[in-house]
Amino acid sequence: MLIHVLNGLVYGGLLYLVAVGLVLIFGLRQVVNFAHGSLFMLGAYVAYATIAIAGFWIGLLAAAIVLALLGLLLDRTVFRQLQDQDPIVTVLVTFGLLLVLEDFVRTVWGRDNLTVAVPQLLQGTVDIAGASFPIYRLFVIAAAAVIGAGLTIWLKTSRVGLYVRAFAADPVTTGMQGVDTERVSASVVAVGAGLAGLSGAIASPLLALSPAMGGSILIESFIVVVVGGFGSFSGAFVAALVIGQLQNFGIVFVPSIASMVPFLLMMAILIYRPEGLAGKAS
């Protein structure tokens, strides 16, 4: 049983890292970024390419940095232009971006399912409550916890974090107070994209790499964001953990409808608490 809880934490942790990037970009740019799943996918591929020449840890770092830079570029060229547009335009453009990135990866790395080996240091299993559990999965849980905690501290204590929270609450007033919103937004989008890349890199030893791998995590991340309340960091955290557990226990107890469970939760939230778990009713 404990093993299932841990597996839920692994998946919940990855979902949180992806979902929090969505929340950041939505909070600052009011853009629902459908291309976010492909940033996760691209992060895994960048890690794959770097790990082959420079080792696992450099690979993680490279994925985060490359994707953060790509985030800056996208903010400048795409998201900034989209922020005052009709939501349907942002959906179309970011979805188009997803297709472009998938085809880019297909062209560079091909369609085969590539694999990344678990780093030497984290190979093997440990015995937990009588069952063996992979060490690498414990690392994923720890990494998600550390990154999540770091992000929370940054948002709660740093000046930029203050701006971000203020901006997410009321962009116009924040701008009138003299905050350079463009710079704050650009750096936050970079952080969001970098986190997606990092989580892709962290997930790469667990998953087969394919250009379509971003799709399923994107959908579940959106469920996390909706359930947590659009624009809420703590809501996304709670929702990611809940969905990670639901997903796993769904497979254990009701396998035939397991993939429906997160959607059922989302529907229930939209009907009974449309502002999300942590959102404020408007």
């Binding site: 091909g110 369609r111 080996a117 992979p134 379509a212 997903q247 254990v252």
Partner: protein
């Protein structure tokens, strides 16, 4: 259309008046290798299939009498409309006499109907659909290599014989997965084994840990994976992570081939059971074919499907030479069924009345990194199903049967 036919008839009349010994349309025998040149099937067939076809042509001497043999290639990109357009153009305008390879069942089924209309030939080597020798059989195509029945049959019964009695299925939740689970499960029971459980996962899942833990706690000897592509790779990788094979359970892949194992790597793939009709390292003949293939294809070893292209093309050439023309596809296919087959890849074999090529199926186990001595040293042979039992009995749904 009628005009063109008339012109063709006139042209062939003129030709036959000129050349007395044989009647070959435009004096070249053209073979079109139609497959997916860059997509998901490119490694298992793709450009390697063209190499394999060329090896068959060279082995045959490059010409029939004094008619040269030419190979052209087409990329159907896994899109039925594109595949069918290429095939039509080849048969109508480019003088292609036979189409080989054709991965992707929806395309191979469409092209088998097309060659029947035009009285040409299709040698289908990379498509797994059982229907090609059942309700969709035609007098103008033959089905080489393997099909879903033979995969399920070989893995299902041979693994039970080698001691894997209790099976648990991890199945992709769509028609293909269900079919494989049902067929393999039947063979397991026939061979005296039992199916202790199954769990279905959605197509393109990412986290298999909960499914694998259920498979593990089922205490089955064999966990059979009725899935493919990224689902297969994910489940194998994560099974390795949880150390499932170390604790004594075996994994069996129901639709896994050499290139899948190659890209998965032996560290994750070691110990998996799988079935194929060909492996490059089976005997001296297969090794000599593999050597020729590797020299022309960057050192890669041929897959079963590429070996099938070689074998099928070679047998087609023998039949054309025996018939003496390339214009009557039906007569050539009938001759292919009459002549026994023999080649380096599959040894001696035959083509059944319904177009099914018969040869043994082998059960392999993937080697561990320590056992493997070369980059393509991937399999160890652990079982064999004889040609007579490896394939589906004649199906009355095929109108060539029982006439």
């Amino acid at each position: 259309m009628n005009l063109r036919l008339a012109a063709l008839a006139l042209g062939s009349l003129a030709l036959s008046a000129q050349a007395s010994q044989a009647q070959f349309s435009d004096n070249v025998l053209r073979i079109g290798v139609l497959n997916d040149q860059a997509g998901i099937y490119a490694d298992m067939a793709g450009p390697g299939s063209v190499v394999a076809a060329q090896i068959a042509v060279d082995e045959f001497g490059g010409k029939i009498g004094n008619v040269p043999i030419e190979i052209i290639r087409g990329d159907h990109q896994n899109k039925p409309d594109i595949g069918l357009n290429i095939a039509r153009k080849w048969l109508d305008a480019d003088g292609v006499d036979m189409i080989a390879d054709i991965p992707n069942s929806s395309i191979s089924l469409a092209i088998s109907a097309l060659v029947k209309d035009k009285n040409k030939v299709a040698v289908i080597t990379t498509s797994n659909s059982n229907r090609l020798t059942a309700d969709s059989c035609t007098p103008n195509h033959v089905h080489w290599t393997l099909d879903n029945y033979s995969l399920a049959r070989s893995t299902g019964s041979a693994v039970v014989k080698s001691g894997g009695k209790n099976w648990f299925f991890l199945t992709a939740d769509y028609a293909f997965g269900h079919d494989m689970e049902r067929e393999a499960g039947d063979f397991v029971k026939q061979a005296g084994g039992s199916v202790v459980g199954a769990v279905r996962h959605p197509l393109s899942s990412s986290d298999f840990s909960s499914y694998l833990l259920q498979a593990q706690s089922s205490k089955a000897n064999v966990i059979a994976l009725a899935n493919s592509g990224s689902d297969f790779t994910n489940s194998i990788k994560q099974a390795a992570e949880f150390g499932i094979t170390q604790s004594g359970q075996s994994l069996a892949g129901l639709a896994v081939y050499l290139t899948d194992v190659k890209s998965l790597g032996l560290e994750s793939g070691k110990g998996i059971y799988l079935s194929e009709p060909f492996y490059w390292d089976l005997n001296d003949q297969t090794r000599s074919f593999a050597k020729k293939f590797g020299e022309r294809h960057g050192g890669a070893m041929p897959t079963s499907f590429q070996a099938g292209v070689y074998s099928g093309v070679l047998h087609y050439l023998k039949a054309v030479a025996a018939v003496g023309n390339d214009t009557d596809g039906r007569a050539i296919v009938a001759k292919m069924k009459e002549l026994p087959t023999e080649d380096l890849a599959f040894g001696k074999g035959s083509v059944r009345i319904d177009g099914r090529k018969l040869h043994p199926m082998y059960l392999f186990r993937v080697k561990s990194p320590a056992q493997s001595k070369a980059p393509w040293d991937l399999y160890e042979k652990v079982g064999e199903t004889a040609a007579a039992e490896a394939f589906k009995p004649l199906d009355s749904a095929c109108n060539l049967v029982g006439k």
